[in-house]
Symmetry: D2
């Protein structure tokens, strides 16, 4: 089946391996008439670029977006938009040991089990680099959504065991620290914690929260294609994501109905919810309040600490992963989560155009 295509009415096809000639995306279903430049895409791509802090890989990935089709004289034409990112800094030598050894926490073993062959260089198709293509598509989706008044705030809610405190929450603060945490105290603590983990050659995970403003009531289909189900599908398809929750999520399972239900009220002619435990979705359909969800990010599996594993010949071996790896993937994954949410949301908005005669 392949599985590299997402969406029905706004369809995104990604392609490319970490160390092949290029990776990219084809977007089928972008309307005509949107002003779109490579710069629009570059801004989003730069948000996942490494090298901006001690907490990201030192690998250089210029990740320069190039538009191959679908844009004419600066405006989309309604035909497929193809965005390609050439792979430049391909030090294949760094990765030669992966060819024979299954790295714990990576897809080396499962790719071999599935395909019998794999492009082992830098993880090939299972590399985090694949997400650059998603971000390029996300840039287009977000620009289309912004025309409808829909905007995103996405940030690190936790780094390892260090969480943002709601009482200190300040969205502007996320610009002021390399971990993108909207809480200066938590950011400070998290950096300290991260430093100590890095010293031990270890890595860290975290939680990303995304808030979507401006979604009108009525988006999402009532049964399988619920808005939360499609968001979960989109976000869980990012390699490092191990959990997804909307609104109060797992916490709602601890509460009673009287606490968890959001009561409605009419204030000067508009229906509001007094609270938003539901995260803006009722019965799979947006209710007009903010859409809120969180994604659990696992710690980077590439660690320099020695690990036990098995090689292709089946021998038990020890492995120390060398090279340039992110000790925490959360800051760079933020824009990927946001991109997938934008793609999933836009696809549902387009698909929902025929809900009334």
């Amino acid at each position: 089946m392949g599985g590299s295509i997402f969406g029905t009415n706004f369809r995104v096809t990604t392609f490319g391996e970490s160390h092949g000639p290029a990776l990219g995306v084809v977007i089928d279903g972008c309307p005509a008439g949107l002003e779109l430049s490579e710069h629009d895409i570059q801004i989003m791509l730069d948000r996942r670029k490494p090298g901006r802090s001690p907490y990201t890989t030192k690998r250089k990935e210029p990740d320069k977006a190039e538009i191959l089709s679908g844009v004419f004289e600066g405006v989309t034409t309604g035909t497929p938009i193809t965005i390609v990112i050439q792979n430049k800094d391909q030090k294949s030598a760094d990765y030669s040991n992966i060819a024979e050894v299954y790295r714990p926490g990576h897809a080396d073993y499962t790719f071999d089990a599935k395909y019998g062959i794999r492009d082992y260089r830098g993880g090939g198709r299972s590399s985090g680099r694949e997400t650059a293509a998603r971000v390029a598509a996300g840039a287009v989706a977000k620009k289309l959504l912004s025309k409808m008044g829909i905007s995103f705030s996405t940030y690190a809610m936790a780094i390892g065991p260090i969480s943002v405190e709601r009482s200190r929450f300040d969205l502007n603060e996320m610009m002021n620290n390399p971990l993108c945490m909207p809480d200066p105290v938590a950011a400070e603590d998290a950096m300290e914690y991260l430093d100590s983990c890095m010293e031990k050659g270890d890595s860290v995970g975290g939680v990303i929260e995304c808030v979507i403003k401006g979604v009108p009531a009525g988006v999402g289909e009532p049964v399988f294609d619920k808005l939360d189900a499609r968001l979960a599908y989109a976000v869980m398809s990012i390699g490092a994501v191990k959990g997804f929750e909307v609104g109060d999520g797992f916490v709602s399972s601890l509460n009673t109905g009287s606490v968890n239900n959001d009561q409605f009220e009419n204030i000067s002619g508009t229906v509001y919810k007094k609270t938003n435990h539901a995260g803006g979705i009722l019965g799979g359909i947006s209710d007009g309040s903010e859409i809120i969800f969180r994604a659990a990010i696992k710690p980077t599996p590439s660690i320099s600490k020695e690990q036990e594993t098995v090689n292709k010949a089946g021998e038990n071996v020890k492995l120390k992963i060398k090279g340039r790896h992110d000790p925490v993937i959360v800051p760079r994954a933020i824009v990927v989560v946001e991109s997938m949410a934008a793609i999933a949301l836009l696809d549902l908005i387009y698909g929902g155009k025929n809900s009334r005669i």
Copy 2:
């Protein structure tokens, strides 16, 4: 778009409203040659039937499965299988107040916002009754999977704040209590907690865990159609589910890479993982160990406690929901979660038949 179809190679279309003439499912893509009877489906349907304990609605839903097509002389023919469940105990009068008032936590408001019209009787299409159709399809999926040696254990891991303790975990115990908890002590505590909530006219949520045994390595597609992403999509499409996690899920975000990575070892010629923090999925592809995931279930939104809300005319009103409602949906939702997991898994297995030449 509709959104009532799930899957690509094993495609399930559900239809029907809570109080319409019938609800049901069409399965397109079931292979020929499977022995299938209405009894096979009934066994699964009976697992979501109410009335078996004080903790489920007293509504009678005989939910009798009737096969309309696709089975000839007791064997599937490869053509669409249609299973219909007639709606019998339709006390429409009970629900007349819903017609005008938006119940908090329900889809009344969002359906009206989306469609401008809604079958309000018993929640119509957004009723939990819709899941009976999913379970009927799940029965077929599970029977096909069992031929491949794949089996499911699904149970309540928590009811409200009361959790199963791993040290007391005993799968057989789940048969011995109406809450389906595999821990007799937790079950006892949970029932007590539930009783006290019911007295206050309140409701409770919980967590369902599902373990899938026998899935060979190699199932799932590497990018968007990852096994965990499709499971998340399938399970989050169940109305009451607000969160999904695979393996250690949100807990993995707290751990370091050296703790979270599952190291490989070769024992007498077979590759094993020493641990299973990943929940049996690496890079979106099954790794041969058990698939483990959890779903967070919100407390039943229908409570008899008085709530504030708004009616269709926009007036602020007070609402006490009468009638027959589950104080906790977890025990009946277990088979729904299992069904959706089976459908999603089977669809990926069928779609993955062409991964090697």
Copy 3:
């Protein structure tokens, strides 16, 4: 894969065998707000009902439409519409010989080759009866299209070698003869020809033409999902159809560009084409003129003339098909062709809502 689902935004799933309990259709993607009754569907179903002339089977097929879901108080709700037709006149005994012998021109042999099992009663899933479900869906599609000012004229253009002459073409005449030919002379000749074929126990084919009025310019997608490609797909999926052409079709291949090109002209501010060799489609997109296509219908394969064939055991045998068969399927297939065209067209219209920002 199954293959019993058609469409993306207006999705039609048919199910059911000729002699099973029922056949029917689920429509996913019908907007809310359409007044719809069983009578609306019955009118269309009656157009394919046999028994109205000597040229159709004497089998009684009351084909009573029953709406199971998606309509509330006479109006569609946006949820799946299910229409079921109970099978009544199931004289299974008539068909017992098919169980063992492969009828020439039928799908008996290929079903066995594909599935290893088949519901042989009346052709099972490959029976023409399956098209009743398509017509039920077509009734809904046509009602939605008529709200947009789109209407259909579909008729027999030829019965065997007897063709309508363009000079005598009169649409009203199609009501006046059982063959639905818009030319009284051709109809007379065709009936005579048909009588002589029936005397010999033989059957006849023909050509159906469909003209769609009121389609605005801009419907259809430019590459794979061209309007003509989707119409071809839809119409060629009807069992008896062996050819499809749009506009001048095969005749255009004989002409030169200067003859075949439709020149444009502006008449009082509106762009017209002076001719319509293209059949209303340029580059896969409707151009605002009438959509015109034709379908070639093969002669009914069930003939009472003796034929040579093979049975399941592999023996060469002789076969005389008894029972009640249409000597020509064209008159009853007209509404099926029209239904499939309506479904394909509506699906593209809905999918095209996002072609401009």
Copy 4:
């Protein structure tokens, strides 16, 4: 919706405009383990290359295939294969007049009606150049099919009114004339006819026939996704195709059942059909004999003869199309028809893997 994606299990996404930076294709669903080189693709691309005879455009289109992803060390890896063709000979100036004038027979008017904007250079997305991407995908599909023993013969059956005579049919002859006609006499006549049309600044159409050998019985789904329906969909999606027929096609509509039915016989243990009027498909499923279909190709709409038309400002104008155009598209379209047939067939074969338990 976009409409630039074809297929379910072998999914092909094309992109690119005639005079943009590049065009290409992403194939999602190619199995791992196929040896594949750029040379494999180039061989097919060269079959549609112009400049090999006086009967094709003098435009130089080197059309060099470049593989960007999905192939590692000469072998497919199961991940998306991207093939890009850079656009080189882009004399945009040649096409400047198209920007303002709607060429008869082209998609200029309908693109403007649909999108309000269009890349007019060389026809943009509606250019025949888009089919190069289809051919690249077809090369991969054909290589996969050849591993199953499936092969194609595709040729010109007619050029304008000059048809191949079945009695003179010799497949090898198609190599000996630039029109790819398997009949030397017809080829001679056709060239003469073509010369006379070219002198008048006019163009010519024709008919392409495709024969597929080696398809086992059982391919195709019984209802909407019939093998003939999918072939029709695929082939009618090629811009110049106005008609499609399988087996005897439109001729079958003239015959009686006793002539058109293919009788079965068992010869030394194998079931054969004595004739093949059906073109190898019964009830939408392959019957083990040769698959035969034909496509009607319209005359090239770009002619140098003066035509009347309308410009963007709505004025009635006269147009003489200058530049380099194929006077007949049939010889170059042959490989496109073959490619689309291969893609559609392979997709059904992959989708049909689950027809039996």
